[in-house]
Amino acid sequence: MADKKWPGCAKSLKGVILDMCGVLYDSGEGDGVAIPGSVEAVRKLKTSDLQLRFCTNETQASREKFVAKLGRLGFDICVPEVFSPAPAVVAVLKERGLRPHLLVYDGLLPEFDTVDKTNPNCVVIGDAAEKFSYANLNDAFRVLIGLEKPLLFSLGQGRYYKETDGLKLDVGVYMKALEYACDLKAEVIGKPSPMFFQSVLNDMGLQPHEVLMIGDDLVNDVGGAQHCGMKGVQVRTGKYRPSDERHPTVATDGTVDNLAQAVDMILNQRN
């Protein structure tokens, strides 16, 4: 009988999925800063026999730009290993023959280069920050309300995030605004959507019970992964708050100080 508890469960693992912001690095001025030990931890995982993927709700930059930034911080990561909402929604759009009206950050637009955007029959919103003006939101609204069956995709559903100059409204707020205006329910692409985690599992060719997710967001990373049948471990970095350890609905499989500690525990179990 295999050990189902953390860290014993690491013996039977075949893959690990890492959240990025708050686990690998902290965002801030310029590229932000690597979290101590995380660069080395990623290197150790890569040289192990475990499969490794990265899973982020980042929607302000294309994956190319994003991975380049992480490279400057010292991380050895390549684009195909990174799963973010934009490529996921592009796959959904193509599969369903949908042409989006985009309300996203300018930096994300290159991800949609290959998508037909003429005569839109759905709306995609991401964290557009300053681009969330009344006029831009109204344009998205008019596309939706003009459709026989309004269809809204939201890249994540966060309420707010922290930047150096304070808290900022996230995409979920504007998703709720459009949901209310058009009396619809958005399809959320990204964590914690099970479809999103499943696409990562499919890419690894693994079953959920063979994979561990490590993140700083209790609900979206840990809860989302557990909901799919994976194990979920939370790091005490990034947006972690002590109250997470007493959360009413989500309990982690394990809580560790940082990624370096998690990776050492995993690899120790397997030696």
């Binding site: 109204n138 609204f141 707010y160 900022k168 707020v173 504007y174 709720k176 605004a177 209310y180 205006a181």
Partner: protein, 259 residues
């Protein structure tokens, strides 16, 4: 409805019902005159928050409607009374043209957020400011929560979506003062001294005009002008007392069947 009392008051929505921006609904002025000849009180109730009472009155008179200022009851009047009652100092997200209805209210070091219809203020920076205030404990007051409204260039987002977004961000509930809140309708009726079971509401918004009025026990008549869209009458339960083409038909129905 056999036991219903004869109607003594008619509440009438403005934008979308009597007029669309600067154009009167055809026949609406004459219909209002016919209604005035009957033994009913008339009150104009509106969620048109971007405009002061005086602006509204000027427009209605310019369009040849026979209306007095004291017959107009707006969600701005309702918001003002709440601010005075609670002694809040508001951050006012309302258009400049509506500010005169808040004259005399202290807005220094704001400790409350009032959201009206303010396209100029619904930008990322200002909403972030409002969001941080609410997160620090400031109450969120919504003048109303309409989803959208009709402009000459098409439909446009109302305050409701922005209020809903701020509620989601902060995990709090807004206090709504305009239609479809029941206090709004009962306040409007208390001025004319009759109960909801003796009153009718005419409007183009199925939820906010008709649904709101019917929830307090009034009859609601939905007109197919303004923001009305095919099938709106099916969006509320119970359905409207009547759905008709425009304001003159609604008046005809009242004069024929409800007095």
């Amino acid at each position: 409805m056999a036991c219903r009392k004869a109607v003594k008051a008619v509440l009438i929505d403005l934008s979308g019902t009597l007029h669309i921006e600067d154009t009167a609904v055809p026949g609406a002025q004459d219909a209002l005159q016919r209604l005035r000849k009957a033994a009913v009180a008339v009150k104009f109730v509106t969620n048109t928050t971007k405009e002061s009472k005086k602006n509204l009155l000027n427009r209605l008179q310019r369009l040849n409607f026979n209306v007095q200022e004291q017959e107009i009851f707006t969600s701005l009047s309702a918001a003002r009374s709440l601010l005075v009652q609670k002694q809040h100092r508001p951050l006012l997200l309302v258009e400049d043209s509506a500010l005169e209805d808040f004259s005399g209210i202290d807005t220094s070091e704001p400790n409350a957020v009032v959201v009206g219809l303010a396209p100029d203020h619904f930008n990322y920076q200002t909403l972030n400011k409002a969001f941080r205030m609410i997160l620090s404990g400031a109450p969120l007051i919504a003048i109303h929560k309409a989803r959208y409204y009709k402009r000459t260039d098409g439909l446009a987002l109302g305050p409701g979506p922005f209020v809903t977004g701020l509620e989601y961000a902060t995990d709090c509930k807004a206090t709504v003062v305009g239609k479809p809140e029941s206090t709004f309708f009962t306040q409007a009726l208390s001025d004319v001294g009759c109960g909801p079971d003796e009153a009718v509401m005419i409007g183009d918004d199925a939820r906010d005009d008709v649904g709101g009025a019917q929830n307090v026990g009034m009859l609601g008549i939905l007109v197919r002008t303004g923001k009305y869209r095919e099938g709106d009458e099916n969006k509320i339960n119970p359905p409207p007392h009547l759905t008709c083409n425009s304001f003159p038909d609604a008046v005809e129905h009242i004069l024929m069947n409800l007095l």
